[in-house]
């Protein structure tokens, strides 16, 4: 057993974890501005956005078992929608975020409908094709998307909420917005993952045919997961555009789609927060390696990624789980042959 075993928590268990986790996360996130410079806060915000993107991806991959090579399409759709709205004078940030989320969700609905009927490799190839289609569209539809330059100088209007106007031009203010949105969305995704719906998605991941025969309409559930994943990816895209004031076609390129795949596998796809861990570890490693080994960092990173693929299939979380379960091995003794239990046998002298 090399993967962490999933145990359904039930509504109360999940809620408890959500509350504890949410409070802890909020505390950690609140501490970050105290220890880093305002410039680094923007970097922290970018990290959080990447975490959201990776978590959205993993809803589809780790939980539902669908490997999509094209989530960047929805990331980009959300980003470009936000950019276009802001550049054309929209001033409601929350409205813009909503627009991106819904727009990406609609794209996911239309494209996902074509994708979810295909099996593993063909699903992956089709999502790749759709992703590149979006990239090509963004690069060449210059009238709307600004072509290969993209959309520049996207404004970041102040947040208007409950009659207050909160300017977002400082690193701290924007970080707080990003942290809040990401935290809330993560809690929402946690709710989805731990709900009966999430349990059925996991069943679909394990054995789609058996799931069908237990009464689960597999295609519909897969589509629902696809749409949710696309929506959250779109939200992440909108945040990234607000962060960098630009929307570029590179947001939709296949290498951008590959990022959450790598991060999820590095961190551990079977654990809910695994992808977030993967994002943070990858970023930290990249930072550390490129400062120490300026010319060799890609080499070492490549070796680490390969090593992960060969020996640590469960990622960091998987490796930790193996270590932990090795310590618990004695408590789980299992006898492989059993005698029939008394209460399930009908004695031969009973009615027949």
């Amino acid at each position: 057993m090399s993967e962490p075993v999933y145990r359904y928590l039930g509504a109360r268990g999940a809620l408890r974890r959500a509350m504890v986790g949410g409070v802890l996360a909020a505390a950690v996130l609140a501490l970050v501005p105290a220890v880093v410079s305002p410039f680094q806060l923007l970097f922290a915000a970018e990290m959080l956005i990447q975490c959201l993107f990776a978590l959205a991806f993993n809803l589809l991959f780790g939980i539902t078992g669908l490997l999509s090579f094209g989530q960047a399409a929805y990331f980009g759709v959300g980003g470009y929608l936000a950019a276009l709205a802001l550049v054309h004078g929209w001033t409601g940030i929350l409205g813009v975020l909503l627009l991106s989320t819904v727009g990406a969700a609609l794209a996911g609905l239309v494209l996902g409908y074509c994708c979810v009927r295909l099996n593993e490799i063909y699903f992956a190839m089709l999502t790749l094709a759709f992703g590149q289609m979006h990239y090509a569209g963004a690069r060449q539809w210059a009238d709307v998307t600004g072509g290969s330059d993209g959309i520049l100088r996207v404004p970041r209007p102040p947040l208007r909420l409950l009659g207050l106007t909160l300017p977002l031009d400082t690193g701290l203010a924007f970080y707080v917005l990003v942290a809040t949105v990401v935290l809330l969305t993560t809690l929402f995704l946690w709710g989805v993952a731990t709900s009966p719906f999430g349990l059925m998605l996991r069943a679909i991941r394990e054995k789609p045919e058996r799931a069908e025969f237990v009464g689960i309409p597999v295609h519909h559930y897969r589509l629902a997961a696809f749409v949710l994943s696309a929506a959250c990816a779109g939200l992440a895209g909108a945040l990234v555009v607000l962060l960098g004031h630009t929307a570029t076609p590179e947001m939709l390129f296949w290498t951008k789609s590959a990022e959450p795949v790598i991060m999820s596998l590095l961190g551990g796809a079977k654990v809910f927060l695994g992808p977030a861990l993967g994002v943070l570890v990858y970023a930290w490693l990249k930072e550390w390696l490129s400062s120490r080994l300026v010319d060799y960092w890609m080499l070492v990173m490549g070796l680490i990624v390969i090593g992960c693929g060969l020996f640590f299939r469960g990622g960091i979380c998987g490796a930790l789980a193996v270590w932990w379960s090795a310590r618990l091995a004695q408590r789980m003794s299992y006898v492989s042959t059993r005698d029939p239990q008394p209460d399930q046998i009908v004695r031969p002298d009973d009615s027949r």
């Binding site: 057993m1 054995k207 009464g215 299992y334 399930q344």
Partner: protein, 246 residues
């Protein structure tokens, strides 16, 4: 009223006819065994009835409704359940979660098609299944860690979760040793008579067939060649020829 009826049911793959104009009627409460040599079309028949394959021609009626061509999940939610010849459980989920999936899923559609739901909540249903299959001590283990025989029990448990009207068991004792086969036989008997489930099973183990079945249907090359009480079928010369070859 009969629970399940097939009319002129045919399934062909190109020029190969796997199920050949089968007319089968299953009455409520019967325990039927479908037997036949390898390649007779038993599993394909199951596949077509449960919606895994579309019939080439013919109709299937279940509880008075035409279910021909419906997707499997729709058929299952109408009260039919099936277990597979090759064990088909959710390996990385715990036993409890396996049952939970099945219970939650069928409760979703209970009442919509007049499927018997139980008044108890989902956790109670899951506990009942664990008890009935005798798997309480392995409840929190991932299914992949269980022995083959225990996984077959989970398989049957999954099929029972929705309190189906009709249970189709595809070679339930496949791959089991003698002790486990006896236990499974008792379990199926219990289900058929104490739970009043209508059971149709395919089997190669003749001892199981003759211990359980009230009615035996023999298939050969896609067609039904004999249908009746076990003792009668056993002595039918056509059946002998089919099994011993031409």
């Amino acid at each position: 009223m009969s629970l399940l009826e097939t009319h002129n049911l045919t399934k062909s793959f190109g020029r190969m006819i796997a199920v050949d104009y089968v007319d089968l009627t299953i009455a409520d409460g019967q325990l039927t065994a479908v037997i036949g040599p390898n390649g007779a079309g038993k599993t394909t028949l199951f596949d077509v009835i449960t919606g895994k394959l579309r019939p080439t021609t013919g109709r299937i009626t279940f509880r008075g409704q035409d279910i021909t061509g419906l997707p499997s999940h729709a058929i299952v939610s109408r009260g039919m359940a099936r277990s597979f010849q090759v064990t088909n459980v959710f390996p990385e989920l715990t036993v409890t979660d396996n049952f939970r999936v099945a219970v939650l899923s069928t409760r979703r559609s209970a009442g919509r098609h007049g499927v018997r739901g139980s008044a108890a909540g989902a956790p109670a249903e899951v506990a009942r299944l664990l008890r009935e299959m005798g798997l309480q001590s392995y409840a929190e283990l991932p299914c992949a860690a269980l022995s083959h025989a225990d996984q077959r029990l989970v398989e049957i448990g999954l099929a029972l979760a929705g309190r189906p009207h009709l249970l189709l068991l595809d070679e339930p004792t496949a791959g089991m040793g003698p002790v486990e086969t006896v236990a499974m036989t008792h379990l199926i008997h219990n289900l058929a008579h104490h739970e009043r489930l209508t059971v149709v099973l395919t089997e190669h183990d003749m001892q199981v067939v003759f211990a359980l079945a009230e009615r035996v249907v023999v298939m050969h090359q896609g067609r039904i060649i004999a249908d009746g009480a076990p003792a009668v079928v056993r002595d039918d010369p056509l059946v002998r020829t089919a099994y011993l070859g031409q």
